[in-house]
């Protein structure tokens, strides 16, 4: 109906073949996990009950912040020039939460009871309860934010108009929910002061998680813009020059977010008087994370903005995203049970890695084909006027 008619899709591209194989193999591993249990597919045990999959739950949600950061900028603060990136950002956010829900289902012992906290017995003192509630509501909100895309595709003008009218309300509700659950994901770790290394354990960890999610979300928008341009070229609504300009603006925002995050990390070291840990091996890991993946990208973002260098900003976006992954895995996996000797520590099984690769591939494939068929990266010709 839209781009499908103008552009013929080849099935046997290298991207399709490789991703197809990964999805097939990963799918088999997922089936094995359900047939034979968590003990078969993972290296989880009674001393390390959460592992790589929980780490990636945190990663998927943090990077899905692309949705709330951009909708807030455009609809609340009136930065209309970024409008062309709103739909890719919301779609990737929605897919991030989809991956979160999938890996949660793989990781839960009895996923078919996933609705129990809300319909059978509520445990309101649990951070996990709040996360479940907020993620459920936010997922619905993001879905509603995306429905105008579907209505344009279907040609349902009236429905589209109704849903469009609620944009600001959705944005406010979405930011409120994100503020809550992004920070509450950090609050999950408040109950393990003895088990998580003091450099990562902090009473302020909820604020760290929220601030870093903003930096991650902004960086994801930069990368999504780049990938969309690479894959769809001139079919993308935003021109190359305009995209470069937006990328540079986003780099400035990314620098600011990373700087706030870095400041919070320094404040945390001071308030907790944790300086002496920096001289240990754990300190080296911590400094690699905070200097190498927070302060440096923050400075390079600022430099790229000053030099108007979009390419540099794109590399820095990838750098920041890797930093977010590094941080979330450090908190959930590496620095947990830090007192254990190496032979008692948890290392993920190869199947756990395969499932993570499977999910990331799934996200990319869905993003690619939804953008192909639906008006995500370009206007629907019938709806130019109010878009």
């Amino acid at each position: 109906m839209t781009s499908a008619g103008e552009h013929k899709i080849k099935l046997l591209t290298p991207f399709n073949i490789i991703s197809g194989l990964i999805l097939l193999f990963g799918g088999i591993i997922v089936l094995l996990r359900f047939a034979k249990g968590l003990g078969y597919a993972t290296n989880l045990n009674n001393t390390t009950a959460w592992g790589l999959w929980t780490g990636f739950k945190l990663v998927f949600v943090a990077l899905a912040a692309s949705g709330y950061t951009l909708t807030t900028a455009v609809y609340i603060f009136g930065m209309d020039e970024y409008h062309g990136l709103v739909r890719p950002a919301v779609l990737s956010g929605f897919l991030g939460y989809s991956l979160f829900i999938l890996i949660l289902i793989f990781d839960l012992g009895r996923p078919w009871r996933i609705y129990y906290p809300f319909f059978v017995q509520a445990g309101t003192t649990s951070a996990l309860f709040e996360i479940g509630l907020c993620v459920g509501l936010y997922y619905t909100t993001q879905f509603l934010e995306l429905t105008p895309v579907g209505f344009e595709w279907l040609g349902w003008k009236r429905w589209r108009k109704i849903l469009k009218a609620a944009t600001v309300a959705f944005t406010i509700f979405g930011l409120f929910l994100s503020l809550l659950h992004q920070s509450t994901l950090g609050a999950l770790f408040l109950s393990v002061p003895g088990k998580l290394h003091p450099l990562w354990y902090s009473p302020y960890i909820p604020i760290h998680f929220f601030t870093s999610s903003a930096a991650g979300g902004i960086s994801m928008i930069i990368l999504i813009g780049l990938i969309s341009k690479r894959v769809f070229g001139h079919r993308m609504e935003v021109s190359k020059d305009k995209l470069d300009k937006l990328t540079i603006g986003l780099g400035k925002a990314g620098s600011l977010a990373l700087f706030i995050y870095f400041a919070l990390k320094v404040v945390d070291l001071a308030l907790g008087d944790k300086w002496h840990y920096l001289a240990t091996g754990w300190g080296a890991l911590y400094l690699t994370e905070v200097i190498g993946f927070v302060l440096l990208p923050c400075m390079v973002y600022a430099f790229g903005y000053r030099e108007r260098n979009a390419t540099l900003i794109r590399y820095t976006a990838l750098w920041t995203v890797l930093g977010i992954i590094f941080n979330r895995l450090n908190v959930a996996v590496v620095a947990y049970n830090w007192k254990f000797p190496v032979n008692e520590r948890y290392f993920p099984s190869w199947m756990e890695y395969v499932v993570v690769v499977f999910l990331i591939t799934l996200g990319l494939v869905i993003f690619r084909y939804v953008s192909e068929f639906f008006p995500i990266i370009r206007h629907h010709p019938d709806f130019e006027e109010s878009h």
Binding site: G39, W50, I76, L108, L133, A166
Partner: protein, 353 residues
Amino acid sequence: MGVSRRDFIKGVAIGSLAAAGTAKANSVRRFKGYEDTTGLLYDSTLCIGCRQCEKACNEVNDLPPVEPPIGDKSVFDHKRKVSDKQYTVVNRYKKAEGNKPPVFRKHQCMHCQEPTCASVCFVSAFTKTPEGPVLYNPDVCVGCRYCVFACPYYAISYEFSDPFTPKVARCTMCYPRIKKGLKPACSEACPTGAIQYGKRKDLLELARDRIRKNPGKYVHHIFGENEYGGTSWLTIAGLPPEDLDLPKDPMYEPLPNLTTGFLSLAPIAAATIPGLLAGFYAFTKRKENLHKEELSRKLKETKKAMSIEMEEKLLKAGIEMKEALDKVHDRGAAPPAAPSGAHGSEAPDDKRG
């Protein structure tokens, strides 16, 4: 649309209610434990590592026989952990030296006064009973394993090998036996009296008494009196807690308090954030509107200025035209039809005449 908006509002309502529940849990009052609650005192100095407690525990909980079997002394060569096959294990922490006997410690769920497992469970599967035991309800368990992750004593196990009905597995402090007026199985099986069952406050007195009477034999500390808000299992020993795989210098504050403070911010956020954001939106809109008004005002002013200028120019042009015509008129004969302006200028002459 009607449906989605209603669902929306319903969602917000559920969220606020849930948040209100959280706030209630974060009451200011400090819960000091149930009156007359029971517990167990484990005296490491009396323990001989016979593992009769392990055997009794597996029997009473319908678990397979302990591995390796009782009497196999190699069992103490490495440290074991509680599992879904054994809710309690005895480890050796110091070998016999001369006439000093070896030091053992029994591991099992400590049955906290304010259990972390109960507070982190998002289906409230755990209950602290007034009698002391912390009970687990497998019928609501979703298998998130947050309890296993959060337990500070590594005392909770999970049935990782079960693909369809995995459950949490741990010591129940023999709740069914306690209800019948019996002692927990381990306490009854212990041949040396190292595991005493009774009212928690009586056990604390007993422990204090033993430490006071044998200052050289015990470390001056009752583990479980205050740690993380206190536990039903109390431990006294000849070695400090950290040498027995117990947390070193743990806080005395109950662990749930670390999270409830933050979670109770949720209703505050619900009350303030949307309004704040609506305010930001209003500011943005206002700016836009002011900008628009400014534009239309300027446009109007320009239009007005233009029309005044135009009129002036027209007037000027009229006068100039008239003057030009007058000049032509003066030079030649009287015009056949004088313009209206010319009439006006002639009028005074008429009056004069």
